[in-house]
C-alpha cells in the first residue's frame, strides 16, 4: 500500500469535501440505478456436480495463470477455498442435510455493489448490462473493496510489489460485449449456471420451485440479499424440515449450510454503512478508513504466510492510526478543537462497532 498516496487522496477528497459541503460529495454512492434489462446468472446447486469445468474455463478465457493443482483434481473442492486475484471463481463442496452439494463462488455482481460504495477512487462501476467492473488505473491499493464486499470476493495481487491491483470476476464483460456467454456458463456441462436476464431468471427460479415440489428451498438467494445480486443461488430442500424460528426470511438453514448468509438484509450494503456512520456527518468521508482498520484487525484473511499477515495487519493499523490522526488534525484546523475531539471519539466508536461486528458474523461468506 502506498500510504502517502492514500493519505493525500484522503486529505484532499475526503476531508476537504466532507467539511466543505457536509455531504461527502466525493464519496461513492451507496445506491446505484437498477437496470431492469441487466443480465444475471442463476446457480442451481441441485444440479452442480462439482466438476470445476467453470473454474477451468474462467482461467482460460481470462488468461489467468495456470493453477498449482490441475482442474481435473476435484479433491480441492473439499477445502473451503476462496476467490483470489488469480482464481476468480471457485467451486466448493458443502454438506447440506447430510448430502454433498457444490456451490460455485464468484463475484455476485450486486445491484448496489458495496465494493463500489467503499471505493473512494471510484474504481468500480455497475454497468447497465449487470456487470460490476473494476478499473485499476485510479486504484490506490487500499483494499476497502475487499473489506466491504459481503462475500469476500475481490482478491489482491499480494505477490506484485509494484502497483498491485484488485482482481475479481468481471462477468466476462468483454465477452458479453461481443455477444458471447461468460466462459464459465458456456463450459458448465449441466447448466447449473444459467445465463439470462435477471428478471427472467427470477421467474425461472420460481418456476423450478413450483414444478419440482420438495426439491428446492423456497427462497432465491440474491433476489433481495445484500440489496439484490445479479448472480443468484437456489438451494436443495431438506424435504419438509421446519424452518427455524430465528429465520425471519424463511430461508431455512440450507443456505447457511451452503455457506451463504441470509441475514445480510435487503438493503444495499453501502447504504447500511452510510447509515451507521452518518450520525456524525463529517465521519462519512472517513468511513472507508474505518473499514480498512477493521479489516486489518479481522484475522479472517485468505491464506497468507503468518509473518506476512502480521506485517500487513501492523501496516494497516499504522495506516489507520495515521489516517485518524490526519483526519482529526484536518478537522481541528477547519472546525476547531471541539469538533476534532468529537470526530475522534465517533471514529473510535465506529471502529469498535465494526470490529465487533466483523469478529461476529459480519460477512456473507461464512468460514
Amino acid at each position: 500500500m502506498n500510504r502517502r498516496k492514500f493519505l493525500t487522496i484522503l486529505g484532499r477528497a475526503g476531508v476537504g469535501s466532507a467539511l466543505g459541503s457536509s455531504k461527502g460529495a466525493e464519496a461513492s454512492p451507496a445506491c446505484f440505478p437498477y437496470y431492469p434489462d441487466s443480465w444475471g446468472v442463476l446457480h442451481d446447486t441441485t444440479r452442480c456436480i462439482g466438476c470445476r469445468r467453470c473454474e477451468a474455463a474462467c482461467q482460460k478465457v481470462n488468461n489467468l495463470p495456470e493453477p498449482k493443482v490441475p482442474f481435473t483434481d476435484l479433491s480441492v473442492t473439499e477445502k473451503k477455498r476462496h476467490t483470489t486475484a488469480y482464481e476468480w471463481t471457485v467451486v466448493n463442496k458443502y454438506e447440506v442435510n447430510g448430502k454433498p452439494y457444490f456451490r460455485k463462488l464468484q463475484c455476485f455482481h450486486c445491484n448496489d455493489p458495496a465494493c463500489a460504495s467503499a471505493c473512494f477512487a471510484r474504481c468500480f462501476s455497475k454497468l447497465p448490462n449487470g456487470a460490476v467492473v473494476y478499473d485499476g488505473s485510479q486504484c490506490v491499493g487500499c483494499r476497502y473493496c475487499m473489506v466491504a464486499c459481503p462475500f469476500y470476493v475481490p482478491g489482491f495481487q499480494y505477490d506484485l510489489a509494484w502497483d498491485p491491483l484488485v482482481q475479481k470476476c468481471t462477468f466476462c464483460e468483454p465477452r458479453l460485449k461481443e455477444g458471447k456467454l461468460p466462459g464459465c456458463v458456456e463450459a458448465c456441462p449441466v447448466d447449473a449456471i444459467t445465463f439470462g436476464r435477471r428478471s427472467d431468471l427470477i421467474k425461472i427460479a420460481r418456476a423450478r420451485m413450483a414444478e419440482n415440489p420438495g426439491r428446492y428451498v423456497d427462497y432465491l438467494y440474491g433476489e433481495y440479499d445484500a440489496g439484490g445480486t445479479a448472480w443468484m443461488v437456489l438451494a436443495p430442500a431438506a424435504g419438509g424440515a421446519p424452518v427455524p424460528v430465528d429465520d425471519p426470511q424463511g430461508a431455512g438453514t440450507e443456505f447457511k449450510q451452503l455457506g451463504l448468509d441470509t441475514h445480510l438484509g435487503s438493503q444495499p450494503m453501502g447504504q447500511l454503512t452510510y447509515g451507521a456512520l452518518g450520525a456524525v456527518p463529517m465521519i462519512v468521508a472517513f468511513w472507508p478508513v474505518l473499514f480498512g482498520g477493521a479489516w486489518a484487525m479481522t484475522k479472517r484473511r485468505e491464506a497468507m504466510a503468518k509473518l506476512e499477515q502480521e506485517k500487513i495487519i501492523k501496516d494497516a493499523k499504522d495506516d489507520l492510526a495515521a489516517a485518524v490522526d490526519a483526519a482529526v488534525r484536518k478537522i481541528g484546523e477547519t472546525e476547531g478543537e471541539g469538533a476534532a475531539e468529537r470526530a475522534r471519539q465517533a471514529m473510535t466508536e465506529a471502529l469498535k462497532a465494526r470490529e465487533a461486528q466483523n469478529s461476529g458474523d459480519g460477512h456473507g461468506e461464512e468460514k
Binding site: W39, L42, R47, I49, G50, C51, P70, T72, L74, L181, V185, E186, C188, P189, V190, D191, T194, F195, G196, R197, D200, L201, I204, A207, E211, N212, R215
Partner: protein, 332 residues
C-alpha cells in the same frame, strides 16, 4: 400378520359363501380369492344422501382387494394400514359423502384422497392417494418420477380408479349410494370390471434403435455411444409387471416420453437438438443447452435410481477422451 377376530369371522362367513358351487352358466372367470376371505374386488359407492343417478358426476371406484392384499403380503404390511380402526369394515361404514360422527366427519372424498394426514396416537391411516403417490419414490420408479416427470395431480387420472363396468344399472347405483346393494351383486360388478381391465402393452425396445451415437457435441471427447436398447429394457423390465404403473401408464409410449419429452409420443421422436441449441439461447434461458440437456437427463435418472456408476464427474466412462487430449493429459 393379517389377523384379528373380526377378519377371521368375516373370512368364515365368506368361506361359507364360497363353498356353494357356482350356478351353471354363470360367468366363467373369477378373480383369485383373497386370503382374508373378503371379496376379491368391490365397488366403493359414494354412500350418502346425495343422489348420483347414472354416476353422471363420477363413477364409483372399483377396488381390487386381492392385488392390494398381495402387495401387503410382499411388503410386510398389515391390513391396519387401510382398516385403520382394526375392524375389517368397509370404508363407507364411517366415511360417507357427507361425513358421519363415527368417521370423525371425515368425508369419503377426504378419506380416499387426502395426502396430508394428521398424525395420530394410534395407527396413521393411509388414503388411496397418499399411499399411491408414495409408490413413485421406490427405486424402480424414482428414475423418471423424482426429477424428470412432474407428478401434478391430473384430472385425466380420475377414471383410472373411478371406473365400473357398463353392466351397472342406474338402479345398482342408487342402491349402492343408499348402501342397500346386495353384496353378491357388488362383487359381481367389481369382478367384471376388474377382469375387463387391460394392462398396457409398452412399445417394445426391439423397434427402437439398439445404439444411438451422440456426436453432435463431440469435440474434446469422442462421440458417446448410448446403448438405447439396454436402457429401455432395463427400465421396462422393472415395471411391466407393476399393476399400479400400468394403470397410470396408459399409453404404449409412456415410458418413451420421459426422455423424449415435450413432443407428442411417437416412434420417431424429434432429435434432442431440434429444441436444445448447442449454447443457451438467452431468449429461452429456461431451456438447457444441448450438452446440459443430455447430462441433466442421464445424471438425474442415474442418481435417482441409485445407479452408482459412472460418477457424475467421471467423463470418460461415457465418452472417451480424444487422442490428442489424452496425450496432453498424460504429459501433465
Amino acid at each position: 400378520m393379517r389377523n384379528g377376530t373380526t377378519l377371521f369371522l368375516l373370512a368364515v362367513t365368506l368361506l361359507a359363501f364360497a363353498a356353494c358351487p357356482p350356478a351353471p352358466g354363470a360367468a366363467p372367470a373369477a378373480l383369485e380369492p383373497t386370503d382374508s376371505g373378503a371379496p376379491s374386488a368391490i365397488v366403493i359407492f359414494p354412500v350418502g344422501a346425495k343422489a348420483n343417478p347414472k354416476a353422471a358426476a363420477m363413477q364409483p371406484v372399483t377396488f381390487n382387494h386381492v392385488v392390494h392384499e398381495k402387495w401387503m403380503e410382499r411388503t410386510g404390511k398389515d391390513c391396519i394400514v387401510c382398516h385403520h380402526t382394526g375392524d375389517a369394515v368397509a370404508c363407507t361404514t364411517c366415511h360417507t359423502q357427507e361425513g358421519k360422527l363415527e368417521g370423525a366427519h371425515i368425508t369419503l372424498y377426504d378419506a380416499m384422497h387426502a395426502t396430508k394426514i394428521a398424525p395420530r396416537t394410534d395407527t396413521k391411516p393411509a388414503s388411496c392417494v397418499s399411499c399411491h403417490s408414495q409408490q413413485i419414490t421406490q427405486r424402480d420408479c424414482a428414475g423418471c418420477h423424482t426429477t424428470l416427470v412432474r407428478n401434478a395431480r391430473n384430472e385425466a387420472w380420475c377414471t383410472v380408479c373411478h371406473t365400473v363396468t357398463r353392466s351397472m344399472t342406474a338402479e345398482d347405483m342408487q342402491q349402492g349410494i343408499a348402501g342397500t346393494l346386495p353384496e353378491r351383486r357388488n362383487e359381481q360388478l367389481a369382478t367384471e370390471t376388474e377382469l375387463s381391465r387391460k394392462m398396457v402393452t409398452y412399445w417394445k425396445a426391439t423397434k427402437a434403435p439398439q445404439k444411438v451415437v451422440i456426436d453432435s457435441l463431440a469435440g474434446k471427447y469422442e462421440p458417446c455411444v448410448f446403448n438405447h436398447k439396454s436402457h429401455v429394457l432395463s427400465l421396462m423390465g422393472r415395471i411391466t409387471e407393476n399393476k399400479l404403473a400400468s394403470a397410470f401408464h396408459t399409453e404404449p409410449a409412456t415410458l418413451c416420453v420421459t426422455c423424449h419429452h415435450n413432443s407428442p409420443a411417437s416412434a420417431t421422436p424429434p432429435k434432442c437438438a431440434s429444441c436444445h441449441s448447442p449454447t443457451i439461447d438467452p431468449a429461452t434461458p429456461q431451456r438447457p443447452a444441448l450438452m446440459a440437456a443430455f447430462h441433466l437427463q442421464c445424471m438425474s435418472c442415474h442418481k435417482d435410481m441409485k445407479v452408482a456408476r459412472p460418477r457424475n464427474t467421471d467423463c470418460t466412462t461415457c465418452h472417451k477422451l480424444r487422442a490428442p487430449e489424452r496425450a496432453a493429459n498424460q504429459a501433465n
